[in-house]
Symmetry: C2
């Protein structure tokens, strides 16, 4: 029998060394993007005494508050002097005390979830508590970029089983605000992305709000695409509104179309995206957790999820779409969210315009029942709106489309949109006098035939090079869609730019590859989807 | 039949926008530790025009040279003004032009190996060219911390088969300098680590050098342990020597014991370690690649690798050790390195002292054949030296130990060590008057019995808290080893510290857990090892 020997040492020394608050806080005007960084001068007594490793995780304490930060050593006393402790913008904001405040620094205890992180790196399955611990630490900015990346990569490649995805989603909802609209039915629509011009939300919201359903839609700005819903809506109205104002607008109009950044929902999601994006990581588990956690945090009870498939969409095949759909449905079920996944046609962009003004023009034309409105955008929006309307217990299954169409044809959707625009703050857009980029060039067909392929990625890329979404009037206007016949020399699309440099880059890309494939009618790919 | 339509556009615009060299370079005194960071002011024209993402990878060009760097946006014009471009220390050094030079910035083309990195993140097997491309980009500082971490985690968990480990090792050797000593036999010894006090190198080198073998040993400083070979040697002599001086010392004395940092061998290894360490990642593949690439780059032809096993060693069991040995042997074979892996007793620290001065004292006592010299250190060093001596074609298998013992007993090893110490620059150490930390406390046995377990981790931790290796005279001196009988109240070990705070932290840890387990003779674990 063994006993682990506990110490009976010589008399103890004079007390513990408490971390002395002896460094003057200095805000360092560097944006390190969602990672807390602390700057210490190499000759600083605290740095030398503690023997911090480069990139060590340290703990900064002030006024009863603690934050973790990664250490960068500074050799320039004008940035941080020997008696000072510098914090990057995010870290300074998180600590919440002013410049000059005396703060303490100490070796950091590793975040609580470190052991769980290491287990996941080793390929182990984690339990509910471990996901909650990890996400709490991520949302609390206690993970360095290195630890974040390790977590994201370890979760990649189908390493999460469906229950783990549920744990992760649940943890992400728990990590931030969760809105409660105090109504039994709060509907929302989301698309997994990847299809340019797919601005159905801006039609679905006024339609279902006019029907009477609560649809408080918050959206993001584009990160890699030529326009996000928030960018396109911003052509019509203000989108960055304080949360109280949004809540008021929703109460009065049953809907809104705003930027989601002010509500701070799912903060862990934003931090995770900052490392997923550079690595182009978009694994099913993380996609499900990201999308569902944001929608649940926003207070949705019923969600319609648009999942386009096609050769240049995010999801390439029906079997892949079915797997992803089942994962979404499982997690939504565990989270008590009513979810309807609709697999749609992702073979080409939706609508004619790609870029904020061009897309806003398409949307307003549909709402006004203008003959120039793109019919594919109209039809898709009606079908999605119809599905959402069918979450109303008073509506029979199958009737949704007709109700949505009536709302649109009658002008009630337009009226509701105008009310929302006015409430958010109109930007005075007139689709008949849309301000488009002054420098244009057309891309022409080099041979006769049938449009057999349109590369979503390439078209989106060209639109971005042309300046979208930063330049609102920049983008691409498609003249021909899949299956249409063209003659040699027919214009396929027009590129709008504001600056010669943007136009040159876009032209360069379009010359390398237009994104269009001309062939015969047999070459047009088929997808068997709902719509 | 389809043809992808190439553009026939309207007349091209006025030329391309070449990246104009229009920003004044400014060295920013921030050490971002092996990651290139570029600092741009948020109001800077180039930043706004390019629409860089936060943390974007950008390319900086000057004087025909290009580097990649991660973007941090700055809000403080005193750090970087609007017409300036700031670079962190490493990046500034890599670009190699002075302050004030006009440089250009552009979106970075992703590093050549990005596609291979993404494939590895997806769990694919990579080929030889892909490993070379990745390691070239790592050594060239073209990977951000995020990409580095993704690579390391994706390679973790036995994801690399043995041939991939060879590819990685080969690529790491190709990425840096490779020394050539112009002799057919260049011997070296390495330990995989994890055992405090295991300073056999400082005995093996003088012994085999006295025999006549070339043994140019470079070592690292401790990162997480209480002393690295370089730290302990530094008690005796200077270790940070310019490479030319080292080469001269080796030529004259057949050996040296220096710090490896000046030679810039295997640069990719140092970069990888900067992310592996915070994540405690030490997978077999990466361990083999790291150790063998460094030894091969250092010009070794024959290597003896010490692999201790035990309940608190890095490798816990014989089957695990055998797997690791086979991996080392396979890669060494492919790299044409003669390798002898020796599985040794890792149940407890080697020698009596842990910490630079205490270990240096042990080493000098062994060399002087002092009766107080720890016998386990002496025996282990002789066996390892014997193995190395047997790489000499004139020595028969089995004779090595005897030759080594004669060299030691006769004082020739001591003479050679003193010559090396003088050549590197003596620090005047006298083991009879070793300067140890003035503040001590003893840890006593609380019950009678047999020492049945010594926790390597805990003892190392206590020695570090006491101040080792930064405080040379700090550390732990063991009085009792495994299998020895103790009475209640007998001192097990003594802790030396220089500063009260260090002593307090060490005492706190020792009180929580001494690291010693007292039981009966049956409780002592057995390992069946070579020695």
């Amino acid at each position: 029998m063994t006993s682990t020997d506990t110490a009976q040492s010589a008399p103890p020394a004079n007390g513990n060394r408490a971390a002395a608050a002896n460094l003057s806080l200095r805000r360092v005007g560097i944006d390190t993007w969602r990672e807390n960084v602390v700057y210490l001068n190499r000759d600083c007594e605290a740095y030398r005494a503690e023997g911090f490793q480069a990139l060590a995780k340290v703990e900064i304490r002030a006024n009863g508050k603690r934050i973790l930060a990664t250490l960068n050593v500074v050799d320039d006393a004008s940035i941080v002097a020997c008696h000072e402790l510098g914090l990057s913008e995010d870290a300074f904001a998180q600590l919440g005390v002013p410049d000059g405040y005396l703060v303490a620094i100490a070796q950091a205890e590793p975040p609580e979830s470190m052991a769980a992180l290491f287990r996941k790196i080793d390929g182990e399955r984690l339990n509910r508590e471990e996901y909650h611990a990890i996400v709490r630490d991520i949302a609390g900015r206690r993970y360095s970029k290195i630890e974040l990346t390790a977590f994201v990569v370890a979760c990649n490649r189908g390493e999460l089983d469906r229950e783990e995805v549920f744990f992760l989603t649940d943890a992400m909802v728990a990590s931030g605000r969760r809105l409660d609209w105090h109504e039994p039915l709060v509907v929302d629509k989301h698309c997994i992305g990847g299809i340019p011009g797919n601005r159905t939300s801006m039609l679905v919201v006024p339609i279902v709000a006019a029907h009477g359903l609560l649809c408080p839609k918050t959206s993001s700005r584009a990160i890699t695409s030529p326009a996000g819903t928030a960018d396109t809506m911003e052509v019509l109205a203000q989108v960055e509104l304080p949360f109280d104002k949004l809540a008021e607008i929703v109460r009065e109009n049953r809907g809104c179309l705003a930027w989601g950044g002010t509500a701070d929902l799912s903060p862990a999601d934003d931090v995770l995206i900052s490392v997923e994006r550079p690595l182009s990581i978009d694994s099913p588990g993380q996609m499900v957790a990201s999308i569902l956690s944001k929608k649940i945090a926003a207070g949705s009870t019923h969600l319609v999820l648009d999942m386009p498939i096609g050769p240049t969409a995010k999801v390439r095949s029906m079997p892949e779409a079915q797997r992803l759909r089942r994962l979404f449905e499982y997690v939504a079920h565990r989270m008590h969210l009513s979810l309807d996944v609709v697999i749609t046609d992702g073979r080409q962009p939706i609508g004619n315009g790609i870029g904020p003004v061009l897309e806003a023009r398409d949307v307003m034309r549909v709402l006004e029942n203008d003959p120039r409105a793109p019919n594919d955008l109209r039809q898709k929006a009606l079908r999605l709106a119809g599905r959402l309307i069918e979450s109303d217990p008073d509506v029979r299954g199958g009737d949704g489309f007709g109700i949505a169409r009536d709302i649109l044809d009658s002008g009630r959707a337009l009226a509701r949109m105008n009310a929302i625009i006015t409430a958010q703050g109109s930007n005075g857009f007139d689709h008949n006098h849309a301000k488009l980029g002054a420098i244009t060039f057309d891309v022409l067909a080099t041979r006769a035939g049938v449009v057999a392929g349109i590369d979503n990625f390439q078209i989106a890329r060209i639109a971005r090079l042309a300046g979208a979404p930063k330049v609102q009037g920049a983008g691409v206007e498609l003249f021909r869609k899949l299956g249409e016949t063209v003659a040699a020399g027919d214009p396929l699309y027009r590129v709008y730019a504001e600056f010669p440099a943007d136009q040159a880059f876009a032209q360069q890309a379009a010359t390398k590859a237009t994104g269009y494939t001309i062939g015969s009618a047999d070459d047009v790919p088929h997808v068997f989807v709902e719509f």
